[in-house]
Symmetry: C2
Subunit: 362 residues, 2 copies
C-alpha cells in the first residue's frame, strides 16, 4: 500500500534528523494542528468532541494538513492523542469539556496492574488509517511524523487517572511497589513499540516518543523508570521501512540534566525544552544525535521583531551547521491555544531566512 | 531586643550552611509546618483562614514550633506566605478555600506597573513580630529561617493574578515589554531585600529566597530576569547581625542546569530539587557554596525501609563530608499535605543516623 505514496519533495526535516547537510534549518511545531487555528476549531466543532475528531481518519487528516496550508512547515505530525494506547488497553478514556483527560479505570491496585496487557492493535486501527490517509493526502509535500507517549508518561495518566501536578499516586506506587511500576512500564514499552511500528507500516516517515513527565522524576529514578523503557522502545523499533530509514526522536521535557544519557538511548534525535542552552547541548551530545527545539512557546506572544530576535539568538546559540550535526527547529512544548496565528508566520519566515543566511544562502 | 534571645543550643544547620564541619547532616523540610500535621489543622481551624493564621503572630508561632515538638529537626522556618510582599504593595491578596492565592489587582497594564512601589514595611510588621516571637519561644533550640519569594517568582503571581501552569501572561509581558518586566523585578528586588533585612533584625538567623518559578524560564532569560535580581537581593542583604553571620540560601526549582551560575550569585547555599544528582552538583560548585536538598517528597509515601534506602542513596551520592563542603538535607519541594506524619519520623531518624555513621560516629 505505502509503495503507492508520492515521492517526497521536501526531505529537509529527515536529513536534519540524520545529521546530513541541509539548505536551512527545518521546522515544525509541537501541537501545530490545534486550537490556535480557527480552521481547527471549525473542524473540531463538526466532529463534536476531541475523541470524535481523533478517531475519525477524515477529520484527523483535515486538521493535520491545516497548518501546512498556512505555513511553510517542514513536517506534518499525525493528529492524535498520546492516551489512545491506554484507552485501547481498556482504561476507558474520556475528555470532559474544559477539563483534561480522564480514565474510568485507573490502575490503583495490584489486581488492576497484573491484569494489564498490551492492547490488540486492531483497536487502534483508526490511528493507522489516519496515518495512511494523511500520508496519501500530503502527496509528498513534507514527511509525516508518527508518535506515542513514553512508557512512563503513559503510566502517569494510567495510575493518576488523569493529569496531576504532583504525581503523588504514580510516584507512591513507584517508591512503595517498584515491582508493580516496572510491570506497567514493561507492558507499556511493548505496546508503544508495536504501536509505533504499526504507524511506520501505515506510512509514518519518522517517529517521536513524548516523555512529557520524565522531568518530574528524581535523578537515578528517571534513568531506571523512564529512560530505560524508552531505550527498550527504540530497540524494538523498525529502523527502516521498504528500504528507507525511519528516524526516531525522544523528548523528555525537563530532562536537560540527563542529556548525555538520553543521547545514548539509540534514538536519532533528542528534543529539548527551552531551559537548555542549544550550543552547550550540541557540545554535550557531539555527533551522536540531532537536536530538536527549543523556543519557549510564549515568545509567540511578542511582536514579530522580538520573535525574530529570539529566533536569531537561538540559531546563533546552536551555531553554524557543520557536518555530523543536525538541528530541527521547534518549540520546547506545545504551542499555546491563545497564540495569534500571525506570530507563527513571523516565526517560520525567521527560522527559514536566518538559517539560510547562516549557510551563506539567500 | 534580639540581644535578649537565648543562646543557640544546636547550630548544626548554620555550620553546614557555612561549610564548617558537623557531627551529622542537619535537616529541615520545606513546608514542615503544614497541613500534613493534625495539630496544624487544629490551629488553622481556630484561626479561621490561612491569612488569619499567617497574620497573627501567636498562631504563626504555634504552628512554626509544632513540627519541632514531633521531630528532631535542625531548623525552624517562619510560618508565612511568599505573597505577603505583593499584598503589602496593594495588590489585594486572598485565598479562596480549596483554590490557590488570588490578587484582586494584578499587574496587567503599563499604568499598573508604573504605579508599583516597594511597600511600607510597617504593613508587614505582623511578619516581623512573628519572627521575634518565634525566636523567643524557640529559646535557642534550633536556628530560625526567614524567607521571601524571589523577585521573579513574586512577579509571576503579580502579573498572572494567581497560580498558572503556562505563565502565559507574565511571559507575554517579559517578551513583549521587557522594560515593564524589568521595572517590576527591580521594585521587587528592593522590596525583598528590605523585607529580609527586617526579618534578620527581628531575629531570623538565616534567610532563604524561594525562586519557585525560575525553572519555567528559558536559558538566557532565567539569568537576566530571575538570577540577576536574586543577586541584587543577596548584595543588599545584611551579611551579619550583632556580630553573627546570617547565611543566605537561594533555591530555583528546576534550575539544575544553571547551577554554576546560581552558585556565583553571592549566597552561602543553593537549594536543589530532586532532578539534580547531589554528587555531581557538589563537583560542579566546588567549595563555593553549601548545598541543600533534595529528596522527592513522594518518597514519604513509601514504607520506612524504602525511605531509609532513598536517604542512604542520597547521602552516599553527596559523599563523605569533607572540609569546605556543606550539606543540609531537605526535600526538593514542600512536603505534601497527604504525607503520613510517621514517614517524617523515619526520614529524620534515617538522615541523622546514617550521616552520623558516615562520619564514624554512633
Amino acid at each position: 500500500m505505502s509503495t503507492a505514496f508520492a515521492p517526497l519533495k521536501n526531505d529537509t526535516f529527515l536529513r536534519a534528523l540524520l545529521r546530513q547537510p541541509t539548505d536551512y534549518t527545518p521546522m515544525w511545531l509541537m501541537r501545530q494542528a490545534g486550537r490556535y487555528l480557527p480552521e481547527y476549531r471549525a473542524t473540531r466543532a463538526k466532529a463534536g468532541s476531541f475523541m470524535g475528531l481523533a478517531t475519525n481518519p477524515d477529520y484527523a487528516t483535515e486538521v493535520t494538513l491545516q497548518p501546512l496550508d498556512r505555513y511553510a512547515l517542514d513536517a506534518a505530525i499525525l493528529f492524535s492523542d498520546i492516551l489512545t494506547v491506554p484507552d485501547a488497553m481498556g482504561l476507558g478514556l474520556s475528555f470532559a469539556e474544559g477539563e483534561g483527560p480522564r480514565f474510568a479505570h485507573p490502575l490503583r491496585d495490584e489486581a488492576a496492574v497484573r491484569a494489564l496487557h498490551a492492547p490488540d492493535l486492531a483497536k487502534l486501527q483508526y490511528v493507522f488509517d489516519a496515518v495512511t490517509q494523511i500520508r496519501r493526502d500530503l502527496n509528498g509535500r513534507v514527511p509525516l511524523i508518527g508518535f506515542s507517549g513514553s512508557p512512563w508518561t503513559l503510566a502517569c495518566y494510567m495510575v493518576e487517572g488523569g493529569g496531576s501536578d504532583d504525581f503523588r499516586l504514580v510516584k507512591a506506587m513507584l517508591y512503595d511497589r517498584p515491582d508493580l511500576m516496572h510491570h506497567i512500564l514493561s507492558v507499556n514499552a511493548t505496546a508503544v513499540a508495536a504501536y509505533l511500528n504499526a504507524q511506520i507500516e501505515a506510512g509514518a516517515q519518522a517517529v517521536m516518543v513524548f516523555d512529557t513527565w520524565g522531568g518530574a522524576l528524581a535523578d537515578g529514578v528517571y534513568q531506571a523508570f523512564s529512560l530505560h523503557y524508552m531505550r527498550e522502545v527504540i530497540r524494538q523499533l523498525k529502523r527502516e521501512h521498504e528500504g528507507v530509514r525511519i528516524p526516531s526522536i525522544v523528548f523528555t521535557k525537563g530532562g536537560g540534566l540527563w542529556l548525555e544519557e538520553i543521547a545514548d538511548c539509540g534514538a536519532d534525535a533528542v528534543g529539548l525544552d527551552w531551559t537548555v542552552n542549544l550550543g552547550m547541548a550540541r557540545k554535550r551530545v557531539g555527533h551522536k544525535v540531532a537536536l530538536q527545539g527549543n523556543l519557549d512557546p510564549n515568545v509567540l506572544f511578542a511582536k514579530p521583531d522580538q520573535i525574530r530576535a529570539e529566533v536569531e539568538r537561538l540559531l546563533n546559540s546552536f551555531g553554524a551547521p557543520a557536518a555530523g550535526s543536525g538541528h530541527v527547529f521547534n518549540l520546547g512544548h506545545g504551542i499555546s491555544q491563545f497564540t495569534p496565528p500571525e506570530s507563527v508566520t513571523a516565526l517560520v519566515e525567521s527560522v527559514h531566512q536566518i538559517s539560510r543566511a547562516m549557510r551563506g544562502g539567500h
